[in-house]
Symmetry: T
Subunit: 69 residues, 12 copies
């Protein structure tokens, strides 16, 4: 493909473990329905709090993938 | 679902009435094809002008929803 | 006009009623001296407070209009 | 006071009615414990969705008030 | 349609020729599967370098289109 | 003039040809009524789409010029 | 409470271990004096360096909590 | 005037002395042709360098004034 | 304290003299009630105008301080 | 190299021809002293004006390259 | 040194392990050629994806160090 | 030189006196090793506090200079 075109979708992954795990979860979920995932960019890091501790890490990211012909 | 993943889509709703109505219109339209809409964030508020008055409110928003397994 | 050029001016409209009314007021005032107003974009929403209530809505917007030949 | 100093606090007001009402609610709540509220600036407009309609308007704003001597 | 609703998708177009060509490529690719493309907004301009020269222009853009009823 | 003062105006130039041509068109139009144009800064690049191709390039820019005494 | 109001405070948590630990530390400290912590948003990630290694992770975050009646 | 409307213009003031002096120069120049100047907001602070020292302070600001009826 | 936590508050200092003096005034006022002020970051520089001259410098800043155990 | 590290430098390229040519000029100049240039990101597009036409395109970009061991 | 001056350089560190490890790698590499590294600020977090999983964490950061006399 | 290329470096200047003095210090230091400094842009203004007063002004700026052939 001479001039590839990529599409970016925006996802929020969550995890009770870590920021990296929340990102991993979003990418694994996307990989179930989209082929050719290529890169991601973190947009925002948030989370919920319960009993004075982090309950859930919530990371919003853009994921880019090749648009097939 | 232990670690839910959300997808965000970006829409521009319009209305001749108000900012709130433009947002409502975008969400109602999205709800016709997407289940589990959860939240929205306003990205930009614009509008068109005719005869020296606001003709159409145009509100761009991101809408988040649960990605089903 | 093959390639129209637009000018944008920045205004702050105010209202004791609502955000939409503050925007309307700015556009109506601009329409008194400028023809061909075409669109607006909200830049910032602020307001003054008196006696623990919103006293005045203040919305800053850019307004675009056709530059006549 | 020759050179007044102001403090800004950040609040999220909510409403089932409108953006303006969410802002009003935040300011009324703040006015119960803080005197001399002077101005506000909208930081972000979000909301929750239920049954394909806006369930709750959530507006984050900064509120400025005079620091008493 | 009284109050149209638009959807925005984000794409990265590429070209070995120019910024305009990268944008054109993204829009042409999108037009193959989406009707009613209406406008675009450039989000970011990047590129890859090889042998000390621009190898590929990469332009990320949002493309808006009418959501059909 | 010991301490020159400059004014900036915001314009949107359009072209069916290219980004550079849209900028040129805005500056040429401004030069018809303003002397001493000195510099420009691109604010935003957008465009309209028709038949799946770029129809019109729309570039918003600020143009700075010397304020005469 | 029909229309809850939230307050956001800004904190910088630190840790010699990780970004997550710096956020945890800020939230745990806040939980000692504030009830009803609900969510956080990361504002900035910085750190100090000593002997060519990260010495301290410094994460600035906003923490939101319910304002009691 | 029940609901005043303000216009904002953008200026770059310069000075060989200081940032404050550059702002003062822009406002004094504007005051020669515009009545009712009310407030300013600094947009950007730059400057030119000659012989390894600051040659000229250049401060871009928005200036707001009442639009007369 | 192994992992110190800092709190940031936002203030607007004012002065008829200079930007530095407005910042100084905000910090001096904060120091009357808060111990352990450590650093500040300028958020915004504005001011009021009277008789075509700067009447009051208004500088909004964040001030960070150590949260005591 | 298991975990490559890249350095980014910021350049302003200029051209009397086009935006692409200004970027090319910056990259060609950098390639004279830096090996392994890999990518660029446009930071800002400006230009100078003379006789009511664009005199010089000025594009500021970041250029990334591999840091050699 | 009465008034120290710091220089900031921008780096992208990578890692197959974690965000913290990517930052560590960038700082360790920089420490090989620059003395007196003092602090860092994260600019952007991205990564590459392979086989539906994060392949490489890529963190862009600014690193500040003392400029020696 | 038909199409000059400029390089920008980022510095933090400090001073116990004023914002202008912190900028001057950064530029004077840079001028010891770099010829042809041309302009600067302020990126951020911060400072340290001691005994409830500003202890040190810290201004981060970009400085542009001509890249020699």
């Amino acid at each position: 493909m001479k001039d590839p075109v990529y599409k970016l979708i925006e996802l929020t992954g969550t995890s009770t473990e870590s920021i990296e795990d929340a990102i991993d979860n979003a990418i694994r979920k996307a990989a179930k329905t989209v082929n050719n995932l290529r890169w991601f960019q973190v947009v925002e890091t948030r989370g919920s709090i319960a009993k004075g501790r982090v309950e859930q890490w919530q990371v919003t990211l853009k994921v880019g993938f090749t648009v097939d012909d």
